[in-house]
Symmetry: D2
Subunit: 333 residues, 4 copies
């Protein structure tokens, strides 16, 4: 049983069906009917006008967003454990043409106003130092914690006061929404988020992510940067189809709830082993190498996350039959 | 009937089937079994060891290739009408970090040794001028002409003598191979091509292109640059599946032959209207605006290609029933 | 006698004296008193508020200007023979992060509205093509011609209508002002020029160029880009001193007039050999290799400028005694 | 009295004299006789063949060096307090096209093998993480400490084993050499340093730094990158003249000794206030705001260096008359 990544899960049947249904000749790039429906569909979901660009990877969505929010000579305040720092091989630096990721610390991958204020205070405003232009939040975080709307709003207010834009890496935005019960609007633009990388691939899509622009005026620049990055697929209808199918009947939320639920069940028997509260679809367990070995011998696959810690990731695809024995095995260690 | 782009055609049934069959949980990124088979499959096809990276767009394949062959302070000799010049929104400059595209002229989008030699002779070798480091050929060209192996070999010899690498933009490589009857090897590395962007999306795939490295030593750098460009899909197995299905039973060649054949039939009644010989799946016709209007009124869709010229593109999907009436309509103008 | 470049001339005595006088301890970078006087001094000269940044090379001034006027995904309309195209080793692409130089043709290195309009009309506004964002004029041109105020104003009006900014490479701006007799204002912002690279090094300074911003709002970004490019000298007072000494008593104009006058004298006996009218400090002569050889044998040094053409450049330092025998030698060929 | 930066000191008389003597017409750029002597002069000093490029700022020297040693997708291990991190406005990222500065900690700005090994061990070698390609040492450090030859050699051996190149930021290399008494060779290439930014501007020059390449094979690329950065001055002879004058009679060492000696004297009465041993020309003192205010009121100028710490910098120009009263004033606090 694979618990090492939600990327390893299959594509959900409804998404695969939508892909197949998209297979008729249509205009190339993003001129097709499906792509043309995205703005309306996401505007409905977010309860305001938004512009949406599909891309095929979360790294592309993040890097494009940052390139629109931060000049080459600027900096991005982010958690030092963020995906953009540790898992994108410098894509943010590439797309921004050299902006600097300015890592901050914070329990469980979370930033707060105090942390940001302290980091900002440490930067001399003179021409010799790289100045932060934007903040990047990850929700849910790399440690599986979810920002609440009030936390986002507090950071948002701080950023507005200090002239900082906000990007949200929402590779697991759906899981955070599912956990908090807040609306997508509360979890994003109502808290002053400017750009959201809204991930679907980990949540049952094949290769579809939405870059959501709450400032639609930037969409022309975003479209050019996407093309320039090689991310304007010639048969974009297959990506748009996935996104629309995900929004239909709130499948994105249904899937995320299933994944979160599986995580809760996996964690149920973990007791003191839990490193963080489970607020999305990731479980971090203190496991000795010997214990990790025993679980692997029993057929469970997962990542080591530093010394003595294992990361277990659940997906929309894990059902009771997958999860119950695993929870049992953990409890039995 | 759509003749405006091979990108507008549907995905071929065998490719769609392969995508569906790939839908089992597997390792993320390019660690899956299907991705792992690519090097062997393409090495067989090219009759030598090659390293292959999948990407989702031809623009990404081209730009990555150039980034590996040309330093930021160098130049790329190419045809002024090449896709990398006119249709990629500066992706080559982005990925190479500012290398210069040095456009050359040549009938029908083709370069030859004389043209390259003259362009090279016009560059002072001093530190003030951008020095060419690589040549980019498009095969088949933007005008639907195919380089023959002897032409490639001649350019290849010139490049070797002058320290220039060679990239081939093969968005329609399959069509060129189908037309010339030469082997993929003769059309690439035997003529000193270093990197080939081997396109499959226009030829019946969904979003799959192969970046073929004839110098496998560069594969590690290529993999990092791909990741950094946001082109390492987390469920890469769906891209690899398309490529493997394309190679199986030489479907890439079967499809390209079908597209080429359709182009020949479309062109059959065109007579003097033909701007170029038809050597791939594109037909360029002299059409007055009034004539173009009549064809469009009859339901045929195509691009204007400058003044008084129309570009008609056929695909694997055009059959006799599509093409015959169109040829008839053209002949009847 | 050296006529191959105005860069080869010595530093003018008043400039050297100003450098020596600047040699007292003072604040580092551009916080010193001399640097602090620049905005006022240049504002007076240009009859409006301007912001000025010193840099040490014309290439840096040009590239910084373009980086402020053109995004990485944009293009710069310029003459194909412009210094930014042929003599800066890709600095514009480096500083703009990959914007494209879109070369136009035009007699004697000059652009006009028709040329620009035609080039612009050839660009599809879609996302696939690089869109021009700015125009770069060189005044005096690489062929030694000077734009008149009316010509600049016509281009300026066209650019305003089409949303294009204007950069002027004024490595020999002084010579153009001296030739036309127009005011610096007429030769720049009154004709809608946004940024001027105002050169002094060729005109008797040691290593001092002024980047003049007619939109002072951009000065903060300009300062950061200058620092980031490594062009913020720690002892900037020595550069500022040169610029102030150049403005004092209009030495820049006096020197340019001397250079222009020398060019007129050199050209006086050239008759039909003249390729272009002499409108600055450069003379282009038709010379056979044999004739060029004879002049060189007589001790005159100059560049070949393509086949059968020689470029002779005069400087502030050439006096009657230098120039008369040369004019004689040319006339005697 | 200015103790806030060695950049604030005047140009040494011998350097000013050399500049004046260079003021004859000569070939432009770096084709002049003086520039042509640099390789030999520095090869003698370093006891091996080196290639040397002049530039006008230390930031340019550092950024160019890093661009030659680290690819855009790579990382630079350096101290988190290094000048390249905190004082160059992102120039390293600009010149490397987005390589990442990977800050390490270490007492007094120094790195050692243990620190580097631990940082390296924390990087997964997979394609998702930025891989370090080079180490940048600052000697003397930002805290005024000097690496000894044995320390450099130990780091050098570690780097060789791990495929890392070494850049040394030697803005105060002269001061480190003066302090340790080691030879320039021992302080650089004998310890495996690949590129040295050898600073002269802080040490009595006007605007002259030497980028020393211990691998002369890279000089062509370095020259192109320098030009592309806008750092090839058209009258380079004035920079070369400064460097040659600095080497003549080991003036660089004489000046550095004078500055170091002044620092020792300033520190003499500081007792427990000293934050670091004084190993170059910088003195870091614990001073309360009130004490700092008293010194400033007495006419002494210096930087606050974080809370409760003052940085005092001496230069070649500080003599007994400057320094003795200051030492006295500090002792009297």
């Amino acid at each position: 049983m694979r618990f090492f990544s939600d990327n390893a899960a299959p594509v959900a049947p409804a998404i695969m069906a939508a892909i197949e249904q998209a297979n008729a000749a249509d205009t190339a790039y993003d001129g097709d009917t499906l792509s043309g429906h995205l703005d309306v569909a996401f505007s409905t979901l977010f309860e305001r006008e938004v512009a949406v660009l599909w891309v095929s990877t979360g790294t592309a969505a993040n890097a494009l967003a940052l390139s629109l929010l931060c000049p080459p000579y600027g900096g991005v305040l982010c958690h030092e454990a963020a995906h953009i720092v540790g898992d994108e091989c410098g894509a943010p630096e590439f797309y921004t043409h050299g902006a600097r990721l300015m890592g901050c610390t914070g329990e469980g991958g979370k930033l707060d106003v105090d942390t940001l204020a302290a980091r900002l205070a440490g930067v001399r405003p003179d021409v010799h130092q790289v100045q932060p232009h934007t903040v990047s939040l990850t929700n849910a975080t790399e440690s599986g914690l979810s920002y609440r709307p009030s936390e986002i709003a507090a950071i948002g207010a701080f950023c507005r006061e200090n002239g900082l834009a906000i990007h949200m890496d929402g590779a697991r935005f759906a899981n955070a929404v599912a956990f908090t019960g807040a609306s997508p609007a509360e979890m994003s633009w109502r808290g002053s988020v400017d750009f959201l990388s809204f991930g679907f691939t980990k949540n049952g899509a094949m290769n579809a992510e939405a870059l959501v622009l709450f400032d639609p005026a930037l969409v022309e620049e975003a479209r050019r940067r996407r093309k320039r990055g090689g991310h304007l697929l010639s048969k974009g209808r297959f990506i748009a189809a996935q996104l629309l199918a995900m929004l239909e009947g709130d499948r994105w939320l249904v899937n995320a709830r299933a994944a979160n639920c599986a995580a809760q069940k996996v964690a149920a028997g973990a007791g003191d082993r839990l490193l963080y509260p489970v607020e999305a679809n990731e479980v971090f367990l203190r496991l000795s190498p010997e214990e990790a070995g025993r679980l692997r011998a029993a057929g469970y696959d997962f990542y080591d996350w530093g010394e003595g810690v294992a990361r277990l990731v659940t997906s929309w695809h894990h059902d009771e039959a997958d999860v119950a024995p695993f929870a049992h095995a953990i409890a039995a260690l």
